[in-house]
């Protein structure tokens, strides 16, 4: 039912007083319309006070019908709709949606004004068909179409045809068949439906206690890893020729303290898929006393006082409260759970899958690394084929100038610099500064030395059984990682009973054996001479066994054979070059030990490069491979 402005006032007498109308500050009205707004406001106030329309019209030099029109604009309308009131005082403001009164037939020649809106009401099934097109896509149904204006227009025309819409009616009277209206309706309606769904979505009703959290170091830490998109190289010397190799992309693992936003440590893993051993190496780095790298790259230098928390004077022992990680397989490994939960007493949280925002801080740090370090170079893949950030074809055929060591040093410098950069949201304090303050002045859980030194993430423990077959005249042995380990002390252990062995994860050549009562049985070492030559980890062993299945390595020297296998393909394959570097990093124990390699070509089908080569890499970035 339509109400006039007088009827509206009778039904709502409170609107006789202008103070009950919604207030619109004049500063919010555009300057060009402010004068008109104030005049309209004065007119309405005068009418509401009871002045005659003719009197008001005379005062404002307008026709009385204009006054009546203004009042109707503010108050008249459908009984069930709210009147626009003060909004209608703004000149030229559209307060009521126009409705088409003329027919859509071409005979009436009223033009297409508001025709599309009228069409949605008049054509049966049209609105539903158009909404279904949109909701199918939002519901991810298999029958959903691509949300393009052309497809939407097709649905529109289909719906009109099914409703047998007369050909002499709008939209058939337009050249494009209302394409532009359909296109605008698609975007508008999609936004409406999405907003409706968002408003109705069940939200987490959890209401956490609103308290000002005291920033406390080591309360929550976040771990994550990411492939860093930068091409790098490593070189090796073959018969006095220095051969550079392009490396595949490698991973950086990061640990950050949430409350202080301080980076606790990082680890650059020269591999495409880091495993639990790399993760434990990162934990070890975080717990250990950090030493700055000797920077060999020209131009790189640490800021004064550059540090990670583990290297701070005072040596506050690092421990973890809640450890937030994603649910990658290496995070769920038993060794990781054992170290974090059983040894360190921390809480492990894997988070809900597919929501990295839970660990937003470490993700932000990766962005920081990208911005300040790795993305300063050309992208290896680009986001699309013609991405200007992508490395050009010419450069991709040659080897990058950045070395693996440079990347490692750059990360060290960038992350220590991050720790020293004041942050506005931390009260203009640097993360490292805040960490130091927190451990000195807040009650941060403390771990005494006698407990802290027991937390050796790279020290593993297992309980294998001793086997001793005296009828075979064989020495007692234990099976560990599919290899036999022997040692003189095992004769003191009871047959077929368990013993405890401790081992360094990075070097499984020897284990320390103990009885279950704690008595030392000395060292046991791997029986196979092939595995005795170089340090190896369980991950490396597993990798070599996998490669051996397909490529039949010489298992009398498994590590050397695997290394040579990778080296022979490294020139053409960055992936194999990276794996070669990974093997080298393990046998040299993170580039700390020099390694000599002899290649024995007996019984191998791999073509020999030379009969025997002694190989001694002296620095991580250069391998000296000398032929004889």
């Amino acid at each position: 039912m339509h109400l006039t402005w007088r009827q509206r006032l009778e039904a709502n007498p409170q609107w006789y007083q202008f103070k009950h109308w919604p207030r619109i500050p004049q500063e919010t009205v555009a300057k060009t319309k402010r004068k008109g707004f104030l005049r309209n406001k004065a007119i309405v106030m005068a009418v509401l006070e009871g002045k005659a329309l003719s009197e008001v019209a005379h005062e404002f030099q307008l026709h009385p019908s204009r006054i009546s029109q203004l009042m109707a604009h503010c108050l008249a309308g459908d009984k069930d709709d709210d009147p626009p009131l003060t909004q209608a005082l703004i000149p030229h403001k559209v307060v009521q949606h126009k409705q088409r009164k003329a027919s859509l037939s071409s005979k009436h020649k009223k033009g297409p004004s508001c025709a599309f809106r009228a069409l949605l009401y008049d054509v049966p099934g049209l609105r539903m068909a158009l909404d279904t097109f949109i909701t199918d896509k939002l519901d991810d149904k298999p029958t959903a179409q691509a949300q393009t204006p052309a497809n939407f227009h097709g649905v529109f025309k289909n719906a009109l045809a099914e409703a047998h819409w007369p050909q002499d009616h709008y939209p058939y009277t337009t050249a494009s068949c209302a394409y532009e209206s359909v296109r605008r309706y698609l975007y508008q309606r999609t936004a409406e439906i999405q907003q409706q769904r968002e408003a109705n979505r069940k939200r987490d009703s959890r209401q956490l206690v609103n308290r000002r959290k005291i920033l406390r170091a080591l309360r929550v830490v976040q771990f994550d890893e990411q492939i860093i998109d930068v091409g790098s190289k490593v070189s090796y010397l073959l018969n006095d020729d220095l051969i550079p190799l392009r490396l595949g992309r490698m991973n950086v693992l990061l640990c950050v303290d949430v409350d202080t936003e301080c980076v606790l440590g990082y680890y650059l893993a020269p591999c495409r898929a880091p495993n639990q051993e790399h993760f434990l190496a990162l934990i070890d780095i975080c717990l250990s006393h950090w030493q700055p790298l000797v920077l060999t790259t020209l131009g790189l230098s640490y800021l004064p006082d550059a540090n990670f928390p583990g290297g701070l004077p005072g040596h506050f022992p690092i421990s973890f409260g809640l450890v937030q990680m994603d649910n990658a397989m290496m995070h769920r490994a038993r060794s990781v759970t054992h170290v974090l939960c059983e040894r360190m007493g921390a809480t492990m949280g894997l988070g809900i899958p597919g929501i990295p925002e839970v660990r937003h801080l470490v993700e932000t740090l990766f962005n920081y690394i990208n911005t300040h370090c790795t993305h300063r170079f050309a992208s290896t893949t680009g986001s699309y084929p013609t991405d200007p950030n992508k490395e050009s074809r010419k450069n991709s055929k040659s080897v990058p100038w950045v070395t693996f060591q440079t990347v490692n040093e750059a990360l060290s410098v960038v992350l220590t610099e991050y720790n020293l950069t004041p942050k506005k949201h931390l009260g203009h304090a640097a993360p490292l500064e805040l960490f130091e303050y927190s451990v000195r002045n807040r009650y941060v859980p403390f771990v005494p030395k006698m407990i802290h030194q027991e937390w050796q993430p790279l020290l593993g423990t297992q309980f294998p059984k001793v086997h001793w077959y005296r009828n075979e005249s064989r020495a007692p042995f234990v099976n560990f990682e599919s290899q036999r380990y022997v040692g003189e002390g095992l004769v003191r252990a009871a047959n077929h009973k368990e013993i405890r062995v401790e081992y360094q994860r990075k070097d499984l050549r020897q284990l320390q054996a103990f009885t279950m009562a704690g008595e030392s049985l000395g060292e046991v070492h791997v029986e196979s001479t092939g595995w005795q030559r170089y340090a190896f980890s369980a991950g490396l062993k597993k990798y070599i066994e996998q490669v051996n299945k397909s490529h039949r390595l010489n298992m009398r020297d498994p590590i050397g054979s695997a290394f040579r296998y990778e080296m022979q393909q490294a020139a053409d394959s960055p992936k194999h070059a990276l794996q070669m570097l990974n093997i080298y990093s393990q046998i040299s124990q993170d580039f700390t030990q020099p390694v000599w390699m002899d290649f024995d070509d007996t019984n191998t089908h791999v073509p020999a490069m030379a009969t025997s080569q002694a190989w001694h890499p002296t620095t991580p970035e250069t391998f000296h491979h000398r032929g004889r």
Binding site: S205, R206, S319, T347, P445
Partner: protein, 225 residues
């Protein structure tokens, strides 16, 4: 072994009423908000499927009337539906409880009735707790999580004499601050005192307000009356 009880309409069955933690399936571990931690009153590495369950375990650790608890203790069949409750709690002030932690404490009434009647035969109560009731005690839960971590790390070290001395000192003084016991400048030297104090708190010999504020150097400890 199948134990049956007839509820109003539903039967309840289980293989065993011995509370033993059932390990979480790998797929469920990755699908849920999964937590793991060692606690002191629980026999093994506890696995939790939500933050509310983790907090509830921490609150149990801080409740001196709770003797022990087991998470994911049973596998019931209610009618044709499998149902694993969240916690089995043993208390010294009331009957054992089988606890379900749910958002808005919503639990089907028929199933709840069947389970309640079934557990009543074995002198156990079935309790449904709202997540929000646990989240309202977030500060307390976080404090107890920190205390439990410290106590767990030091589980192999004894502090009997220090506890006795400290309890006498607090009783005589009436109260003391954490900062009176722990020296912020030399934590190593006062670590055993700190450990002793936390153990007294854990056992309920002393009390402190952990409900509203984080544990800090100005937290007041007073003897339990």
């Amino acid at each position: 072994m199948v134990i049956q009880a007839i509820g109003r309409q539903l039967t309840v069955k289980t293989d065993s009423l011995e509370p033993v933690q059932h390990p979480t399936a790998i797929n469920f571990k990755t699908a849920t908000n999964f937590y793991q931690q060692f606690f002191l009153k629980a026999p093994e590495l506890c696995e939790f499927h939500s933050l509310a369950e983790l907090y509830y375990a921490a609150l149990n650790e801080g409740d001196p009337h709770v003797i022990s608890y087991v998470v994911q203790p049973y596998r019931f069949w209610i009618g044709k539906t499998r149902y694993p409750p969240d916690v089995h709690v043993v208390r010294d002030d009331r009957r054992r409880q089988v606890v379900e932690i749910r958002k808005d404490a919503k639990f089907d009434e028929a199933r709840k009735e069947a389970l309640t009647q079934y557990l009543d035969q074995y002198n156990m109560d079935f309790v449904v707790i709202d997540n929000q009731a646990i989240y309202d005690r977030e500060v307390e839960a976080e404090n107890w999580l920190g205390i439990v971590r410290t106590l767990y790390r030091a589980r192999d070290y004894t502090t009997d004499q220090q506890e006795t001395d400290l309890l006498d000192r607090i009783t005589v003084a009436g109260q003391c601050l954490l900062g009176d016991i722990v020296d912020p400048g030399d934590r190593e030297a006062t670590w055993t005192q700190e450990l002793a104090l936390l153990r007294l708190l854990y056992r309920g010999n002393v009390t402190a307000d952990l409900t509203h504020h984080d544990l800090n150097y100005n937290t007041v400890f007073s003897p339990c009356t």
